[in-house]
Amino acid sequence: MTEQANSSMPVENQSPGPSDHQSDEDLRIHIDDSATSPTLLFLATSMVWLIIGSLFGVVVALKFSLPDWLGSVPALTFGRLRPAHLNTVVFGFVSLAGAGMVIWLTGRLCRTHIRWTGLLYISVIIWNLGLLLGTALVLAGYSEGMEWLEFPLIAVVPVALGFVLFAASILKTFANRSVEHIYISLWYILASLVWFPILYVIGNGRFYQGVSQAAMNWWFAHNLLTVWVTPLGLAGAYYFIPKVIGRPIYSYYLGLLGFWSFALFYNWNGLHHLVGGPVPTWAVSISIVASLLMFIPVITVAVNHHMTAFGNLKLVRYSPTLRFVVFGAMSYTVVSLQGSLEATRTMQEIVHFTHYTVGHAHLGVYSFASMILFGAMYYILPRIAKWEWPYPALIKVHFWLTAVGVLLYFVAMEVGGWLQGMAMVNGAVPFIDSVIVTRPWLWGRSIGGVMMTIGNILFAYHFALVVYRAGPIRFAPGWVRKAEGQTS
């Protein structure tokens, strides 16, 4: 890197006169202010779903070890709580927090204030209403019966509409951008805005049945990661790692390669969820090949992030954002490489139908995407609430509880799942052995899950403190004082 410490790039192409500290900083604060209310609403409601979804998860986990616990309450039976957990954490927490991050990020990356914020207010309301309705219906027994597509139409429609309104606001803001270059995070964001509505409609439509529907089901479920969850995580990582460290992305060209190979290959992965199943073999083979080809985009991302952060990793000591985002970005590399190998027939024979896959899923959705979203929120919230996080100790506890919790969860599930699979493919032992062998590992999973949940609750509490400007006033970077009208 050869840039000097204050290489001043022209901020706006059309602004007359020199850009100085006053205008750059004021513009940034102005943009952040325009995003404040909608972002805050999306982030705050996402925290509610984080708590609800985590609690569902804990109960579900414990039921593996205590199957008779709460056994007389239909709404709390495993078969209803499990889809409630999945839908609330992904369509609730991850989606709403991701949308909030996208709103704020779009303002920053387009260097303009957010447009059509009215749509965002409507969006957050109907999106949350849809989630509430869908969750209640699933618990009451009105599931549509397919994984990730359980919500009845009456709940799907408000969520879909909410997304479309959100997308409209982002696109309008983008159309009014005052930057010449479209930053790499925006590629992922814009792509997701095109992809997700189409995916959601095809998935929730009633177009198929039988094995065709199964193929659609798993194309849909995996593409949730392709078109939404992963773009959110990568958009965050590509922005916050260089932004916090203060160095540009190592190789923009690698980023370009990474994006298009991602778009090309990841869309074909879906049928690796049906290996060995009653699906045309050639189609499954294509999915396995595509899963292995993912090495290309995943390694480009890993190289890019690593080389950007190289030599500056000690900054994780001071920046919670960097700490969480780097943890998430590393998890992305691990979970993706694991997934590529997991998709092969050799691995699938043993781990399909086991807890191994569930562990892999949590490494992706929590250890990768959620940790990056936490990091994003640590950066964004003080800048919109104009209040610094009051308790650094709470941040550290949040980090260690969630990091250790998810790692414990992951190890327990991969070992337990592997043992389960080995017993399952061994025709000489009774099936029940594959259940018995997982017992201690399922307890480990519950402990990990409880740790993550406690960490999540502490974060939600800290989040509320910032929003309500409670707790000790802490030293804050200059921009907060400037915004409050103080002179240095």
Partner: protein, 196 residues
């Protein structure tokens, strides 16, 4: 220039998405939907469909699969779970219930493997009554307590430790329908010869 770039980006993004859909959903569907339902496959009766809706409501597919794997890929054949499943076996399944986890065993041919109604009811009431190590949830709300079994009803043979005093336990209409559905799960008819 900017517009062209944006348009090409939009096209590229759309194309990568639709190509994927076409390859692993569209084309397989066009092949599968042309398959003839096998002669041995019967449509579900109204009661079996009702029972299937209970299966979905209680989320049974989150622990049980319904797809037998071929010999050499897992031990499904060694466990006598039925011949390898083919796409046509699931012609009338809407939604599909192929499942992705085997916390419990595969059920695609459970009617052949476990044809006893009594066993099924007992197992549904509380699986640990028949398999002590099972972690399947209990489903007491699919049963009801009555002073005596009504005409055509058969009381569950519960052990004294769990049997209610001065009452018997019989399945509700939902419980009966669910078992009717389970006892319809039989795909052991010969697979029609199909070109692969």
């Amino acid at each position: 220039m900017m517009f062209i770039r944006s348009f090409m980006f939009f096209l590229g993004v759309l194309a990568t998405f639709l190509l994927g859909w076409a390859g692993i959903v569209g084309i397989p569907d066009s092949m599968i939907s042309r398959l003839e339902p096998p002669a041995g496959l019967k449509r579900y009766t109204a009661e079996q469909l009702y029972g299937r809706s209970i299966y979905i409501r209680e989320g049974c597919m989150y622990c049980h699969s319904q797809q037998a794997r071929p010999r050499g890929f897992g031990a499904d054949q060694e466990r006598f779970w039925g011949r390898p499943s083919i796409p046509a076996d699931f012609t009338y399944d809407r939604p599909h219930l192929l499942g992705t986890m085997r916390t419990g065993p595969d059920l695609v041919n459970i009617a052949v493997r476990q044809p006893s109604e009594e066993w099924q009811y007992l197992h549904l009431y509380n699986a640990r009554l028949v398999t002590s190590e099972s972690i399947m949830p209990p489903y007491p709300w699919l049963f009801e307590e009555k002073p005596t079994a009504g005409p055509g009803e058969k009381a569950l043979a519960l052990p004294d430790s769990v049997a209610p005093r001065n009452a018997v336990v019989v399945p509700t209409r939902e419980g009966r329908a669910l078992i009717a559905y389970l006892l319809s799960l039989d795909r052991t008819y010969d697979a029609p010869r199909s070109p692969k």
